[in-house]
Symmetry: C2
Subunit: 332 residues, 2 copies
Amino acid sequence: MFDHQYLWPNGSSIDDQFEGAEGLNIRFSASRGSMSLGESQGGLPPDTVVEDEDAILDSSRGAVGRFHDGSPGSMRSVVIAPCSPFSVTPELMRESAALARELGVGLHTHVAETADEEDYCLENFGARPVEFMESLGWAGPDVWYAHAVHVAADEVERMGASGTGVAHCPTSNMRLASGLAPIRRFLEAGVRVGLGVDGSASNDSADMIGEVRQALLLNRLAVSPGVGDGEMITARQTLELATVGGASVLGRSDIGRLSPGYAADLIAIDLDRVEFSGSLHDPVAAAVLCAPQRVDFSWVGGKPLVADGEVLGVDHRRLVEQHNLLSLRLVS
Amino acid sequence: MFDHQYLWPNGSSIDDQFEGAEGLNIRFSASRGSMSLGESQGGLPPDTVVEDEDAILDSSRGAVGRFHDGSPGSMRSVVIAPCSPFSVTPELMRESAALARELGVGLHTHVAETADEEDYCLENFGARPVEFMESLGWAGPDVWYAHAVHVAADEVERMGASGTGVAHCPTSNMRLASGLAPIRRFLEAGVRVGLGVDGSASNDSADMIGEVRQALLLNRLAVSPGVGDGEMITARQTLELATVGGASVLGRSDIGRLSPGYAADLIAIDLDRVEFSGSLHDPVAAAVLCAPQRVDFSWVGGKPLVADGEVLGVDHRRLVEQHNLLSLRLVS
């Protein structure tokens, strides 16, 4: 699992995330995200949530030092991830890239999620988002962009040529009316594409197995008459986005496949249920298309993480109660 | 529940459907669907599945006589529903409309699901699908079309003016790469819009509560930059498609609302689950957006149909086993 957190209110930090993962058999990659360009400076976020850029860089270096393990089979890693070209300065983007390369960690940010961002980049930097990111050193096999919806054909080619990847977030792009990401073009251009559920502000269900189906549905719509053209994506291609593709954008060659030399990261779904009725001749297609309601079992590195649909090592009921209390307090 | 069945192989008939519903507390409307124009006559279906048109009309009259109850609170009704303009003759369409009006039952068919159908109608009948259906008497408050994807702005207006309705099938339209139905235009033009999951050949999950979320997501995408424009549909509007809208296309003023004088048709979802965590401040939005995995309870006319997520009166396990056996036999 990779998480892109870029808001650190009330003294929270990436340490809290790794503390939360403690004792769970989850393969967890967290980002030291950041926002530094407040509204008063022409940025997107309110001034109250932005941080000082030197502090961001110091803290990023510290997070990598404390938590990053780049060895094969690693269970914990850190990525450097300013929020978006809207919300940090070009200088922080450039320095983040230099720092990540010095430390040998990945780089991630939001690029071209909305048409607004395209306008913003053209107006402020005289370049479209992908070209602008390239000019800051944000291209290459250690970089992947979240969303990449409003990306023109020539930008797709540039991303393919530089080896830059994409986290495709189908539900979020629909939920927020962001637009249709050019996934077929990405795949044809050899762009690495993984699958994301985005955060709870943009998708009300952090359900990765459901997102695989959504990726199939959205990318079939994308090639329908009146919308676009091309070949229809298959169930297996969509499942690959979530497995091989996800591992690839994270820069890992030790996970994402069931193959000798790879970690034994597995899921299991009980197909003996009404929702899979009539689909048993093709279990792979069934797991993508029949709207699975849960993963019944999962193993990470051969050790159990989920059993009978429940995450092991978590007091589920207490956590939901606490979350509901906190969220009601936040809303009221 | 409404079902549009139009294939009657091996001596099967609408009687089998009503027999299947026997003993279940389900409000069931079945269609006497039909196909009469085989490939050899220029139609879509293979010649082996088409029926004789006189036999279709006789059988339709018989089905209405045996099963249709048009009284308020009715639990069983029949609709006359030739498959599509591709698969029956214009004469059968015309005679079906006349018969339905004589008997006082509804009319349903596929219209403008695919761009192919538009081409077919223009080529064969010199009119776009909606105009062609109008010319056959297929417009009015007793008519609703399945899909209605490739419908031009002026056709939307005509449908609004005649009171013709639509069954919107978001997942199916994505799954089959059919296209984007103009739902926002329909709603603005006062077209009645209900929600459908389509059949198992076009949607691998007959999950109505999931389809409500899909309708929201698809119709938000429909107003995103590069795709289309307009206001974003809300959770409540989407839920209305599945309730008020569905009742309306079925021509019913006794269901679809929780209101004095209406039947007590209710669903209940247990929000005390991890998928709804943090959403309790707005239970309606939660039930639409948080990807509910099941309806926990339902009542039809105040009597239980679903309890603890299981349909009452059905031997669930035996049915799934039987379905899996039959479907494996079909595929092999």
